[in-house]
């Protein structure tokens, strides 16, 4: 991952192929069904649906906004960055955990209603909003911060490009909870740490600068730790950042068995 030098200057002028950048963007109609729940109004959840005309580059989040802004202002969901980096809008879309801002409508089957529900396994607060506190509690328990021994260097700690690469995949986590709330073990046992906490433990266990790997492995060797994982791969499929979550969990299991990092 060193910096290669770009020695060759790019051409001042090139021939562009015809149709570069794409053509007109089409529009189409969808039916959006949202699972509604508001304990201020009723203890029962129900489904509402809307017919919407949407645009080719629109995502599920755009459809939710269209409903909220033009039809029913009480439809409630979290969102912020709207391009898949803040992790606010994880939800179940047609039965799969996705980020609403990263799921293009045109990639779904628009001949059928699009079903949107809150992620599972965390208490629903209102509509698509769940209580995230149990999720962050598990995250905090694995000591998600660099722990080092000895004197602090005056300059940076050295780390080879290979050592940096070793834990690259798990640094991408945005704590959206798509993985943890897709896990059947987590649905039935809320005490289980869940994939996201293990991913974040992995990020430090395999960081060559960190000296607390053994402590984290001990935490995850607990009865609510990695051994609850049934390797269903739901988490890897759910991750909007493409992290190989199940692989990371397997590496942590292996490290506990061999005590080699």
């Amino acid at each position: 991952m060193s910096t290669p030098t770009i020695e060759k200057e790019p051409a001042s002028k090139v021939e562009l192929p015809a149709g570069v950048g794409g053509g007109e963007i089409p529009s189409f109609d969808i039916t959006l069904k949202v699972r509604r729940y508001n304990p201020e109004v009723s203890d029962e959840a129900h489904w509402d649906e809307w017919q919407l005309t949407m645009y080719g580059t629109d995502r599920v989040l755009d459809a939710l906004h269209k409903v909220k802004w033009e039809h029913d202002g009480s439809v409630s969901f979290r969102r912020s960055c709207a391009h898949g980096v803040c992790g606010s809008d994880a939800m179940r879309i047609n039965g799969r955990n996705r980020l609403a801002c990263k799921t293009l409508l045109k990639d779904l089957d628009t001949s059928k209603p699009i079903l949107v529900e809150p992620i599972k396994g965390l208490p629903v607060e209102k509509d698509l909003i769940v209580d995230m506190e149990p999720f962050f509690q598990s995250y905090r328990e694995i000591m998600p911060f660099l722990i080092t021994k000895g004197h602090e260097p005056t300059r940076e700690r050295l780390q080879s490009a290979e050592d940096r690469e070793r834990y690259d995949d798990t640094t991408k986590c945005i704590l959206c909870a798509a993985c943890t709330s897709s896990c059947p073990v987590f649905w039935t046992d809320g005490q289980y740490f869940g994939p996201a906490a293990i991913v974040n433990a992995h990020r430090f266990i395999f960081d060559s600068r960190d000296d607390a790997g053994d402590m984290r492995l001990e935490i995850l060797n607990d009865k609510e730790g990695v051994w609850r994982c049934r390797t269903t791969f739901n988490c890897s499929e759910a991750c909007p950042r493409g992290i190989q979550v199940t692989k990371a969990i397997s590496e942590v299991k292996q490290a506990i068995l061999t005590r080699k990092i």
Binding site: S2, A11, K13, G22, S80, H83, C86, G87, M132, L158
Partner: protein
């Protein structure tokens, strides 16, 4: 009424707020209030890097970095602040590495560095490798690392607590025989989104670190939640806002969507082309070409489109060409942004150029502070106990145009300073009594939005605001476009009084939240437009076609916008000026 008492209250949990919290939390009892969860903050969307003259890969020093920052800001930068930032940049990067940030590394295992727009060797001779980075997700790594260290230090967060008011008292102070009013900070009022309850936080020190105001525009790289709340609260309470006419348009937003593609793409060798396949930046900035500062590149792109050399079916964008770069190099250095092009436009950057156009990105202006992050109530007087850092503040290190990477640097350097100075002040000061009936204004604000039956919709007014700002207060401005924008905003404000919010509940009432946010957006759009009218010259990010040159004689000053209902010509915004601080560099013509 629930009242909490802390030494220090921090409003906002992005990079600046959490960097402040790490310092303040170790010195004094500190609470952080955020309308999101900390890890949702928009610092996480920053991509390219954080500049510091580490000189890990080639010769560099902080004085060159200072010069680039001053020149990049078209000499409107306060040079004492730029020196502080460039000098402390080195420790700011090393601090983050020690906290665990996974920077990319050189073959020797040091922090790797790459090129970025406007950052040069020896006062403009050639691009220099100064940006420390973690692929194209540096902001994500900074946000995660700071949050991890807040967890380590047991920082107390109040998540989804939306701050709506700043409590201050005016005290009479007599100095040299003259009596004046001195503002003093007492605390903040916050709305708990989960329950709909109001909470008063009494504090000796308050730090605003609540971010920017990009949502005044339609096409923007900013999150939905960046609605200028902190700036708006301060402005309504009589604090001036500095240099609000300067808003940065990032050259490379995905066309039509505004999603950011980092300048790191051009730092790694990508180039811009028009519909004729021409590398047009060779004409506008012959020395550093595509790596010219953002204001120049954005204007050049807009000009290509205006002169008919735009690409696409409507000829309304240009192309970012990465096709001459190795796919393996793209994957290693620019994985996220190339994924954005694939996901959102269906374009494969290995083989096809990516449609791009300038996107509203960053407010150079904000709440005025000095280099200790202390907020100013006028040109010279600080408000004891009140601090601001990051995009909400104007210190001013960015002047009229911010260089790429200097925002991640700003939040770390001045976030840290704010945390230290706020805690030190709190340890030496007493609480100021909460004013009588502290919730009155907030209750009125919420009740108006909740109970009005006027039939105007928040989303419709916001859309019309964003449309007029995109059309009239963008890269190119004239007196005519700005006056028209002010007129439109005035009309929208009238309609805003008649909005109705459909959700009448208390629990997670985000409908109500959006109504309140729109109020701040309207105020800030007005301030930005009035300040742009006032500045009859072109400098940095502010280009007036009716005054196309820089006018140092009349406008080498910061603008200070005060809320003043008697200023009817400019919609209740009164403009004054504040001198620029010079230390080493005299203004020169800005060429690249």
């Amino acid at each position: 009424m629930q009242v909490h008492k802390y030494d220090v209250v921090i409003v906002g949990a992005g990079g600046a707020g959490m960097r402040a919290a790490i310092e303040s939390g170790q010195r004094a009892r500190t609470a952080v209030l955020t309308k999101l969860y900390p890890t949702r903050s928009h610092t996480g969307a920053a991509q390219g890097g954080m500049c510091a003259a580490l000189a890990n890969v080639e010769e560099d020093n902080w004085e060159w970095h200072t010069f680039d920052t001053v020149k990049g800001g078209d000499y409107l930068v306060d040079q004492d602040a730029a020196e502080v930032m460039a000098k402390e940049a080195i420790d700011a990067v090393l601090d983050l590495e020690k906290m665990g940030l996974p920077f990319n590394r050189t073959p020797e295992g040091r922090i790797d560095q790459r090129r970025f727009g406007g950052h040069t060797r020896d006062h403009g001779k050639a691009p220099v490798r100064r940006s420390c980075y973690a692929a194209d997700r540096t902001g994500h790594m900074i946000l995660q690392t700071l949050y991890q260290n807040c967890v380590k230090h047991n920082v107390e967060f109040y998540n989804e607590y939306y701050v709506l008011d700043l409590l201050m008292v005016d005290q009479e102070v007599t100095e040299n025989g003259a009596t004046r009013l001195q503002k003093r900070v007492a605390g903040v009022v916050s709305y708990d989104l989960a329950s709909g309850e109001l909470h008063v936080f009494q504090a000796k020190s308050v730090i605003f670190a609540s971010g920017g105001v990009g949502k005044v525009y339609k096409t923007t790289s900013n999150a939905h939640t960046l609605t200028g709340d902190g700036m708006g609260i301060a402005f309504r309470r009589g604090i001036p806002l500095e240099d609000m006419e300067f808003f940065q348009f990032h050259p490379t937003g995905l066309a039509g969507l505004g999603i950011l593609l980092s300048e790191a793409a051009r730092g790694e060798g990508a180039i811009l082309r028009n519909s004729e396949g021409e590398r047009f930046m060779e004409r506008y900035a012959p020395t550093i070409k595509d790596l010219a500062p953002r204001d120049i590149v954005a204007r050049s792109m807009a000009n290509e489109v205006r002169e008919g050399r735009g690409a696409g079916p409507n000829k309304d964008y240009v192309l970012l060409d990465l096709t001459h770069l190795e796919p393996a190099h793209i994957d290693a250095k620019l994985p996220d942004i190339t994924e954005f092009a694939r996901t959102y436009l269906g374009v494969e950057p290995y083989t096809e150029p990516v449609p791009v156009f300038p996107t509203a990105h960053y407010a150079m202006g904000g709440i005025p502070t000095n280099i200790k992050a202390e907020v100013l109530q006028d040109n010279d007087t600080i408000v004891p106990g009140l601090y601001a850092a990051g995009e909400v503040a104007c210190v001013s290190v960015h002047g009229s145009n911010r260089l790429g990477t200097n925002s991640l640097l700003d939040i770390n350097v001045f976030g840290k300073r704010a945390g230290i100075y706020a805690a030190e002040y709190a340890l030496s000061a007493d609480f100021v009594d909460i004013p009588a009936d502290p919730l009155a204004d907030t209750v009125a604000l919420l009740d108006t939005a909740r109970s009005s039956e006027g039939g105007e919709r928040v989303a419709q007014i916001r859309k019309e605001l964003q449309d007029i700002m995109d059309a009239n207060v963008q890269v190119f401005r004239t007196e005519e476009t700005l006056l028209e924008a002010l007129r439109v905003i005035d009309g929208l404000e009238e309609r805003y009084k008649r909005i109705s919010v459909q959700d009448k509940g208390k629990r997670f009432n985000l409908d109500l939240l959006e109504a309140v946010e729109l109020g701040f957006l309207l105020d800030m759009a007005k301030v930005m437009t009035a300040a742009a009218l006032h500045r009859k010259e072109s400098r940095g990010g502010h280009f007036r076609e009716d005054y196309p040159t820089r006018d140092d004689e009349n406008f080498m000053t910061h603008s200070m916008a005060y809320k003043d209902p008697s200023a009817v010509e400019t919609s209740g915004v009164r403009l004054e000026t504040k001198p620029v601080i010079f230390t080493r560099y005299q203004p020169m013509e800005r060429k690249y």
